[in-house]
Amino acid sequence: MSMRAPPGTFAAAALIARKDLAIEFRTRSAFLAAIVFSLLAIAIFYFAWDATAVGATDLAPGVLWVIFTFSGLLGLHRSFGVEEADRAIDALLASPVERESVFLGKALANLVFVLGVQAVAIPAVALFYNLPLTRVLGPLIGVAVLAAIGLVSVGTLFSAMAVNTRLAELLLPVLALPFFVPIVLPAAQSTARLLAGRPAAEAMSWLRILIAFDIVFVVACALAFPFTLED
């Protein structure tokens, strides 16, 4: 009789992330919706403002991070929504993986999703708003990754909670958006400083908040996640 040993915490997380990404890759429904939503929002934001009164460079950072937040919510809701069909979540919980692995796997898949949307949205904003993207690309990717980590850690936890309520997808933005304030604000402020050609040191105090937020909330959400599942 040969029994395979259950995978370790991170190996199991990688397996779960691969499963979620495979579902997303085969259907592409949420990803396409998030991309189209982002492009639409970029165009509408630009049109809603008087371009002669507000410079595109002043408008771009705020637009970029607000769109990023809302398109992230589209993917985050699906994260546990897909497990509801046929109660797939029960099979996942019955399998010999730790609850923390389920959280990390789900969060990892969401991170790839959000970064994928960013990879389209950032160049699109640069194109429509005529931004000097190549000059600041390196630091901007750094800001995007830091912001995405905080966003998916909180978003994945609340997504797990929201699917078990009567309000489902309506509840996720209500719970998550106040938590996105210390992400959107530092991200938009440091992007604005980078785009204005200011030295990177000026963005550091903002980035420190972002890094601290990521550390605290990745740990806190991973620890809190098992409480959202039991019974």
Binding site: M161, P182, I209, A224, E230
Partner: protein, 245 residues
């Protein structure tokens, strides 16, 4: 789990709430008629006797109680802790709403604007949103165990969020008056005003305790009624269960 106490349908007289309401009334009388008018701000300054104690109780006492009761619930799984958190959150929302309404009333004549995106105003607004989210979450879950766990998780994460919002909004300028009473040096207020402040803090704190206690009793009654219903279905529930011919 302890057995629910028998439901009493008799209305109990809430002496604590009565005392608290009388104390708040006495505070208003003292603040309006027996406290000197501030030299530069005039009568507008008197709103601080409502604004400051409500802010202190809403932001620190109520929110702190929700977070501490949340941590303890996740550890001990005592439903009484969940009732305390729920009661504190509901009463806290009322106090914070008072803060958000009285602030603009003072801001218009003194600052010249109802609202400004100042650090403290922004922080208060977002904590108010977290509180509202907490109540909406509670309202959207039927199972008591799930409701208690989820709201405890949100309460604890909310407490972790406060310093981050605080830090990020403080990197913007702040326009809000600096603390007058709770600061390291001596309070910079004349004794007559300080006495009114002391009275308003104590009477508002008493009101908070009395309201949380009343709300807690209501939660106990509701839980007991639900347990009674579960044990012996009401005629309406029995009718609902019957197939329609």
């Amino acid at each position: 789990m302890t057995a629910p106490p028998p439901v009493t349908h008799r209305q109990r007289f809430d002496w604590l709430l009565t005392v608290a309401v009388l104390a708040v009334g006495a505070t208003f009388v003292r603040a309006i008629f027996f406290t000197p008018v501030e030299a530069r701000q005039g009568a507008a300054q008197k709103i601080f006797y409502i604004h400051a104690p409500s802010a202190f109780i809403g932001l620190y006492v109520a929110f702190g109680l929700v977070a501490v009761a949340g941590v303890l619930y996740l550890w001990l799984r005592d439903e009484r802790l969940d009732r305390i958190a729920a009661s504190s959150a509901e009463v806290g929302v009322v106090f914070m709403t008072v803060v958000l309404l009285t602030g603009p009333l003072w801001g218009k004549p003194i600052w010249g604007t109802w609202w400004t995106w100042d650090a403290r105003l922004t922080l208060t607004l977002f904590i108010w949103f977290v509180f509202l989210g907490y109540l909406i979450l509670r309202g959207a879950i039927d199972d008591t165990g799930t409701r208690a766990r989820y709201s405890a998780v949100l309460g604890v994460l909310g407490a972790l969020l406060v310093p981050f919002i605080h830090l990020s909004v403080y990197l913007f300028r702040t326009l809000h008056p600096m603390p007058i009473i709770l600061k390291p040096s001596e309070p910079s207020l004349p004794n007559s005003m300080l006495a009114t402040f002391a009275l308003s803090f104590s009477s508002f704190l008493l009101l908070f305790v009395a309201l949380v206690r009343a709300r807690y009793r209501l939660a106990v009654t509701v839980d007991a009624l639900e347990a009674e219903d579960a044990a012996e279905p009401s005629p309406i529930a029995a009718l609902r269960a019957e197939p329609i011919h």
